[in-house]
Symmetry: C2
Subunit: 342 residues, 2 copies
């Protein structure tokens, strides 16, 4: 009743209920061997004192914490938004804490490893991070359940996308509209993802009988801008616009890039899709509302799938070997790519 607070511990509860602390602990952990009678007394005491077990102490004692951590290189992009959305639903039910490790783009490795080594994490989700061998070793030695999103690694549950096929679909779509000069806006990194999307781009061109021209691939490399950002898309588009033979369609490796590109076009009075068609990647929510065609990676579902399986592993219910789940991006056609060329 008295909301005095200032550290209500398990001892207070024990005293109040007239039992030993071990008994209180049993009640807390729903141990079967405690009489209904005592359990009730304890429960009432807990209620009355408004007691909540201390997360840290608990974790310390039972070696292994019910904490799920998510490590993301760039948390602050809308790209991960729906992923988190898928995750948080399942998290609410369980009594888990979400620890966020926002790795900067630089020194990701170091930050991550330090984070892990400090322990206190029983489940970890890595998002959009290249898992090098030393990181992999680190992950294994920490003995936590791990799932990797956006990268494929045989030793862990990984969820990834068929980037070749995704790019192929996007570009095939553009070629199908009659475009012959299809540009590509990419990030300047040489990540697996980027390479595969370029492969897909080439494959689609080849299938359509369009020659591949490296000069049609641009990236807006800037010191201060991340490769997938609006700014870089803006820069890249400008590069494409000064070519002798201009492009009539552009495939971008992110929606943000596409937005930036779109702005560059608008500034020059170039219409989308009449003059230039645009297709993005990620299918961010706003794309639907601005009419940007995009590749849907079903982020939310992937998030749900990953977290469900991860929670199973954490609770020890799942012991099968690491799985690899590949999703194929779906094209969402919107107004930015609806105009058919002659």
């Amino acid at each position: 009743m008295p909301d005095d607070r200032s550290k209500v511990t398990i001892y207070d509860v024990a005293r109040r209920a007239g039992v030993a602390i071990s008994t209180v602990s049993r009640v807390l952990n729903e141990s079967p061997d405690v009489s209904t009678e005592t359990r009730k007394r304890v429960t009432i005491a807990i209620e009355a004192l408004n007691f909540r077990p201390d997360r840290r102490a608990r974790q310390l004692a039972q070696q292994g914490s019910p904490t799920l951590a998510i490590a993301i290189p760039t948390l602050t992009t809308p790209f991960h938004t729906s992923l988190l959305k898928g995750i948080r639903v399942h998290l609410r039910e369980k009594d888990l804490d979400l620890l966020l490790c926002d790795l900067g783009s630089r020194e990701r490795h170091v930050a991550l490893v330090q984070f892990l080594q400090r322990g206190a994490v029983s489940g970890l989700m890595l998002v959009g991070l290249k898992v090098t061998e030393d990181i992999a070793a680190e992950l294994k030695s920490m003995g936590a359940a791990v799932s990797i999103i956006g990268y494929q690694h045989g030793d862990f549950d990984s969820y990834w996308w068929d980037d070749v096929e995704g790019a192929r679909r996007a570009v095939t779509h553009l070629a199908g509209l009659g475009h012959q000069r299809i540009g590509m806006i990419r990030s300047s990194s040489d990540s697996r993802t980027q390479i595969r999307r370029i492969d897909g781009y080439r494959a689609a061109l080849q299938a359509a009988g369009i020659p591949f021209r490296p000069e049609l691939i641009a990236s807006g490399h800037t010191e201060k801008h991340a490769g997938y950002s609006e700014e870089s898309g803006y820069e890249a588009m400008k590069k494409l616009l000064v070519l002798d033979e201009p492009v009539t369609a552009v495939f971008c490796t992110s929606d943000a890039q596409a937005m930036g590109a779109w702005m560059a076009l608008r500034e020059q009075g170039i219409r989308v899709p009449e003059d230039i068609a645009l297709v993005g990647y990620d299918d961010v929510k706003t794309s639907r509302f601005v009419g940007l065609s995009s590749m849907d990676q079903a982020m939310q579902q992937v998030g749900e799938q990953a977290v469900t399986r991860l929670l199973d592993r954490m609770s020890g219910n799942l012991n099968e070997p690491a799985g690899s789940f590949c999703h194929t991006p779906e094209l969402r056609v919107r107004s930015s790519s609806t105009f058919r060329r002659a």
Copy 2:
């Protein structure tokens, strides 16, 4: 050297360095009374064993954890993106963990309180949450540093915006373009923010000599959509379009709403800004790239300011009474509201 792992404790380090555990602890906590010589030996041992102090044990012992928690009702909107951006920079330097408490929209109160009572948080940022008196009491009793963003409460450091003025500026801008029938798209909630923005809307109309018509205020109330979402903006715009006398400009209380509204307009072949002008709120990053006028709330700066002060409080360097920091949103004019009426 051997990466054997499996719990390297402070004892291992002590043994390896040939010192007592208390000395190791002193080194860890940068106590002044330890010779440079010994310090180096210990540091080397730590390095060699790859030892990281256990976060939980540490926190438990030194009563008070270096953990910053952020509670957000709806993490998954781009609205908070730049806020987090401002926060994380400062967080990287310190050795803090970021605990995320994503309150669902429902039962916010319960979720938050439970979260807090489990302790282990020395700093807390509440974002976009109405601080009721019981929550306030809760916050005080937990003895952590608290800062509130997007709401004003005298007992805590709070960072908020002058919503009346923000709305007034937006609408004044529209009136200045010659618009007479200016609609408003709001969320269906009766939050402080909403009420104030309506006040600002009225004030601006009055100043411009335009009569206030309640039927020009619409909200896209839907069971499944949050009030600030694209979907609700879309719905609301549709309502405004079926009015006898249509509006020529719309002020939206979020950029997402504006995006949704814009889509509704596009579907009907209504041009922006020629037929209808649009102004949003929040100045989300993509707004800049799609050309949506908006009210800039300087989220990133607010995030930085708040976290800086919060960290000061957490470290005990700051003891002055709670401050209240009010920011005034700035209008960013873009193409969605550049057309001047006759």
